[in-house]
Symmetry: C2
Subunit: 445 residues, 2 copies
């Protein structure tokens, strides 16, 4: 692509979808990408930039001159350009803002004033509005004129003189209505809407639930300030799923443009990955010291029957795995809203039954190995311990996500490694406790 | 709601969004829900049913008489009713099919002939088509007439007499175009489209990438057979994320209408959950036997220095946790297409650096505990083992997902518990291996 002459290049860029061009750019070296960019029209640049990943966006923006970049930013969708400006050093952002027209500058300032992860942060200000007294014919005419500047004209929002949201009318309804009917009589009143401060995940869930193409966003005065469109929902659902996924794997979360969620694993720097991974690993080491302490407490038991150590990884592993399973099921069910906090007691009741059944199956399986490796006594100890350990791990995995929600933390923080580590401690104590009691070897420290 | 008289009830159902009504129904007992259903209009029943979860749908369908249910099914969106019929016993489905009009019966037969999880299975047959010679004005008129029966009229597909897909025109473009221009001159040629056999996840990704409201689906003869709409994409993205999540937690996958993904954790029967959880737990028990065998092999070393057992959970725990982290990062990155198979070597190079850095930090941390608990010799053994174990676990967690893709398995099968269990075996061998070597206590069995 970089060796084409300008004409061919321009025609190519008109024929190809910006999303495809954006993926092509990701194959280039940054300076090469900037070279190609300089030869495109500002509109084409804006479209391609809007489809790029954040880190590539930043590199290219860094390579463009201020006036060129300002022209491109002026043509980008309002939600995307705010994100781009956010990722730049503050002074460059200010310089660029001053090169933009007043209306755009104010729009950007307003959109960037909302907190990350809220409806305000993902909404766009390019929505179509209508006045209630217009006729359907006049409304269609107005939408036709405004179409090029709007993100969608399939939904139009009816507002009064104070921008208060009165209703919603879809283009489909407008086309179906008699041309002389007034918008007031066609519109759906009290449309489903979000507040600027609402969590982006809730907005996405509402939109998915009601199959909405776009959702209006209002501020504290019930004035319409933006809309969230369906394409943002995909990103939010995927991002939230990735976030929960990472939490479950004990990977620390961060925020801001340096985050792993924005950069992607392939391009993340080793230093960033160490920052994300080390804190949890160190924390878990200190949890595991308690398992060690448990072992130390039962040192005499171990010394008397070393064969018991043979079953240690198996038992604590099973408790941890059963716990990881319950935690996984519960975290995901809570994330998609299938289970809520008040279901806890009901879930515990069910889980006790399930864990006992699973524990018994595993106890029987493991007792055969027990007889073979350590005789009937060890077999009894091992199977009893298996039932208890699986029950403990399962209940732990089930309860931890609920407990975390109780303290307003993300349930996904009950990660598999955390549950496994805590289950390990319990496993050691339960196993050697049962062994000491059954084999009459209790040691007092 | 169940004590309202018929008039009030009917008016309520017109005012409320079907999705809200559907959530209200989920609070009722099944027979109560059926009672209320019998008093609604068939159209209202159809809308509510389409928004319900599968298990509730099935219960209500089971409670309705055949002719009533057939009337409701006739009014449901084409993709939803196929799913509903699928979930019924075969003979009831056949009876119902015979009560439907011929066109609907054929539509259902055709849609149900596609494999689950393909574009064909999630597409709807209610799309708008246009002929290339129509003018923009005629096209809008045609869409207006057809609007009530179509899932969307915002995209219309241009086909020839053999239903071959020629192009795509959006309602926005139609409204913007001069009324006398022909569709041929307005339409976008070669629109992005899917094949009926394409994986639903790929379709969802393409739609999210290109921000499409709907994507046309063609068969082997390039004839248009359906469209996938944006609301299906949300469901697919969420379902695939849940599937990966469950796999990562070692929860077995199934298929068909009995699956956990469709029923939801809250309403899943204990028996189903046991089926999903037990196989993996038993498999992992047998993996852990190898850890036990590793311990048995080094029994003499352990008997000589029981203090080493103190560090066992800590070391194998750390290796497992580091492995779970890499596996989590890798599985999710592969799921969202950030990392592909050919990136393996590059990722391994980076991971070695990261794992060494993390391992060294953790080795230093743990050496303090080592000195305190077992003296300088144990401290050296423990820190060396920590570096080796973290490196082993990380590389294992990184490579397993790649290896699974190589054998055409889902990378998410490299679940945290599986990685942890394999890392445990490695951890035992590495730890006691280093201990025997350093402390000169090697035992030969």
């Amino acid at each position: 692509i970089e060796y084409l002459n300008d004409d061919v290049l321009r025609r190519l860029c008109e024929a190809e979808h910006p999303a495809d061009l954006a993926s092509q750019f990701s194959e280039f070296a940054p300076d090469q990408a900037v070279d190609v960019f300089l030869r495109l029209s500002p509109q084409c640049c804006a479209d391609v930039l809007a489809h790029m990943e954040y880190d590539l966006q930043r590199e290219i923006a860094a390579g463009l001159a201020d006036d060129m970049l300002a022209a491109v930013i002026a043509r980008m969708p309002s939600d995307d350009r705010v994100d781009l400006l956010h990722s730049m050093p503050d002074d460059r952002g200010e310089t660029l803002l001053h090169l933009l027209a007043k209306a755009e500058r104010e729009d950007i300032r307003r959109l960037s004033s909302y907190d990350e992860d809220t409806a305000g942060a993902i909404m766009t200000s390019e929505y179509a509005t209508l006045q209630p007294h217009l006729s359907a014919r006049q409304a269609i005419e107005k939408l036709r004129l405004e179409a090029p500047d709007k993100e969608t004209i399939y939904y139009a929002y009816v507002i009064d003189e104070n921008r208060r949201l009165l209703g919603l009318v879809s283009l489909r309804e407008l086309i179906l209505a008699r041309p002389d009917r007034s918008i007031e009589t066609i519109m759906r009143r009290e449309p489903i809407c979000a507040n600027v401060d609402d969590d982006q995940e809730d907005v996405a869930r509402q939109m998915a639930k009601y199959d909405l193409l776009a959702m209006p966003v209002i501020n504290g005065n019930e004035a319409l300030v933006g809309i969230v469109t369906f394409d943002d929902v995909h990103d939010v659902i995927e991002q939230e799923a990735t976030e929960d996924f990472h939490r479950m794997g004990s990977i620390s979360q961060g925020s801001g443009t340096d985050d792993l969620l924005d950069i992607g694993l392939r391009d993340a720097s080793p230093w960033l990955l160490i920052q994300k991974r080390l804190p949890w690993l160190l924390a878990l080491v200190f949890m595991n010291i308690f398992s060690g302490a448990g072992i130390a407490y039962y040192e005499d038991t171990i010394q008397a029957t070393v064969a018991l150590v043979f079953f240690l990884p198996l038992l604590i592993g099973s408790g941890g795995n059963a716990g990881a399973q319950s935690a996984t099921l519960m975290v995901r069910a809570m994330a998609i809203g299938d289970v809520v906090r008040k279901d806890w007691l009901r879930m515990v009741g069910k889980e006790i039954g399930i864990a006992l059944a699973i524990g018994l199956c595993m106890g029987v399986a493991v007792s055969f190995i027990g007889i073979f490796r350590g005789g009937p006594d060890v077999a009894v100890v091992v199977s009893l311990a298996m039932v208890a350990v699986v029950l403990f791990g399962s209940l732990l995995g089930l309860s931890l996500p609920f407990l975390l929600t109780r303290f307003r933390m993300d349930p996904a923080t009950a990660s598999a490694p955390l549950v496994t580590s805590v289950a390990d401690i319990g496993g050691v104590v339960i196993y050697f406790g049962i062994a000491s009691w059954y084999l009459g070897l209790h040691s007092v420290v």
